[in-house]
């Protein structure tokens, strides 16, 4: 029987990594990767940073050279969306049939929309794909007053880029602090002050009730307290919604994402999922489930998924890590701080160079490092080998963290 090989649905970071990992593990069966965008697979992180500032163009974003896929025996199907999956055979919306032996879902996530009046006005942008980024960059060139709804990584990265380009920028955040899902309160407070110092108007605890418009174009944002913020460009960055529709139609278990186990298997163990669309057991504690939106997670999980498809044991999970470069503020995170009962601040936030280490029962969990990459790397290295760093000594910013790493007893 001819081998039908692996079908990868979704051609983003996780999909490409999965295909590459299969080849690296010696798999010679056919690989078909389907992506709905017309572009060859590209990196998304620069879209909110270097691409907006003009420092990167599309060719620099490509994940692989155009010839790479054919040379690696990866059949890249672009501009097609998979509509239906039956055992052994998938079909796209255009009717193309894609037979498979093994199936991987790396379908990613969509930018969440705000369900308020005026949400379809011209001049209202979201940022997820390359198309979105081109639209945003072009509009940013002509805009004067920019309102960013959402004070997370992407919203703040764009706010920093727009401010650097001389625009008037307001950030509206519904929570009572910035990036509340990903960093500790001390780091949120620092970023609030730092963005304000750079001239960004940040409004915390502010929901959006509507967008104002005239002649079909957005003219402002109405906050829940009645404040009206004039704007000629509005960017809505309020998180993502994992794309679970296909998995749900296949009868796979979904709960805030496609549910997978530590080996990236969905509730149908023959089907794997990886990346932004997947909810996995907490990679450190194993208790509870998390969906990690990051390139490093997409990469690591795709490698696990590839090993699983080939019946190989996966390597040990690396500690999660994240980065967000907001203008000249380089935030690097290693580990997951949830459940921490203690934190230690190294350095002084006023210098714009400090880090916060998080602990639970004296055990190192994570670090948020601002312009202190050595601290970030030291914690990442420690977590990667099950080591810790004594909290009382970590507080002295003059002692390099790498000299404080205590390996677990052999």
């Amino acid at each position: 029987m001819p081998r039908r090989g692996t079908l990868i649905v979704g051609a983003g970071q996780a999909g490409v990594q999965l295909a590459v990992a299969l080849r690296r593990l010696g798999d010679t069966a056919p690989i078909t990767m389907v992506g709905e965008e017309p572009f060859p697979p590209y990196q998304r992180p620069p879209l909110s940073k270097e691409f907006l500032s003009g420092a990167a163009h599309f060719d620099m974003l490509a994940l692989r050279a155009p010839d790479f896929y054919a040379e690696a025996g990866i059949d890249l199907v672009r501009g097609e969306r998979v509509r239906e999956v039956r055992p052994g055979l998938a079909a796209t919306e255009s009717g193309r049939e894609l037979p498979y032996d093994r199936l991987a879902l790396t379908v990613g996530a969509d930018a969440r929309r705000l369900p308020v009046p005026g949400g379809d006005l011209d001049g209202l942008c979201h940022l997820r794909g390359y198309d979105d980024a081109v639209r945003l960059r072009d509009r940013l060139g002509a805009a004067e007053r920019v309102v960013v709804v959402g004070g997370g990584f992407i919203g703040l990265e764009v706010a920093a880029a727009a401010r650097t380009a001389g625009r008037s920028v307001t950030v509206v955040e519904a929570a009572d602090r910035l990036m509340s899902r990903v960093v500790g309160a001390a780091v949120s407070d620092f970023y609030l002050a730092a963005h304000r110092r750079r001239g960004v108007d940040v409004r915390l605890g502010s929901g959006v009730s509507a967008f104002d418009g005239a002649d079909g174009r957005v003219t402002g944002v109405v906050l829940t307290d009645g404040t009206r913020l004039p704007a000629d460009l509005v960017l809505v960055c309020v998180g993502v919604r994992p794309r679970t529709e296909l998995a749900e139609r296949m009868g796979l278990r979904c709960d805030g994402g496609i549910v997978v186990d530590a080996r990236a298997r969905t509730s149908d163990p023959a089907v794997v999922a990886a990346g932004d669309c997947a909810v996995q057991p907490h990679p450190v504690t194993g208790r509870g489930a998390v969906r990690l939106e990051s390139v490093p997670n997409a990469t690591a999980q795709a490698q696990v998924a590839a090993a699983t498809l080939l019946g190989r044991p996966p390597g040990p999970p690396p500690p999660p890590w994240f980065w967000s470069f907001q203008g000249d503020l380089k935030l690097q995170i290693a580990g997951l701080a949830d459940g921490h009962d203690q934190h230690v601040v190294r350095g002084t936030p006023d210098d714009e160079r400090f880090s916060v280490l998080y602990y639970r029962r004296n055990r190192l969990l994570a670090v948020d490092a601002v312009n202190r990459p050595a601290d970030y790397m030291a914690v990442r290295a420690a977590l990667g080998r099950g080591a810790t760093i004594a909290a009382d000594r970590a507080a002295d910013p003059e002692i390099p963290l790498k000299t404080l790493i205590e390996d677990p007893a052999a």
Binding site: M60, T299, W323, P373
Partner: protein
Amino acid sequence: MAKVIYIDSAGREHAVDAAAGESVMAAAVKNGVPGIVAECGGNCSCATCHVWVTEEFVPLVGPPEELEEDLLDMGVSERRPSSRLSCQIRVTEALDGLTVEIPPEQP
């Protein structure tokens, strides 16, 4: 365009035509040169694009900046005086023929 030659840990040479302005990491990853992982896509955050620059090119390439220095210090398996993160080396016409060695291990 400039040619960049990567020598992998098995001693095989991979020659790539890189565009000026592109990083030495990006040229390798896009063309499937094995051993350069570049998880962070060139943001000087992962240290998985470590290379050893061959001696004659060290002065042309120059030393790492502070952020890169910190990652090299902590994040790579075998630090040498010629160590650089290839995401931080921009290809220029002057670097035509640039030859770098890829270490056997990226963290």
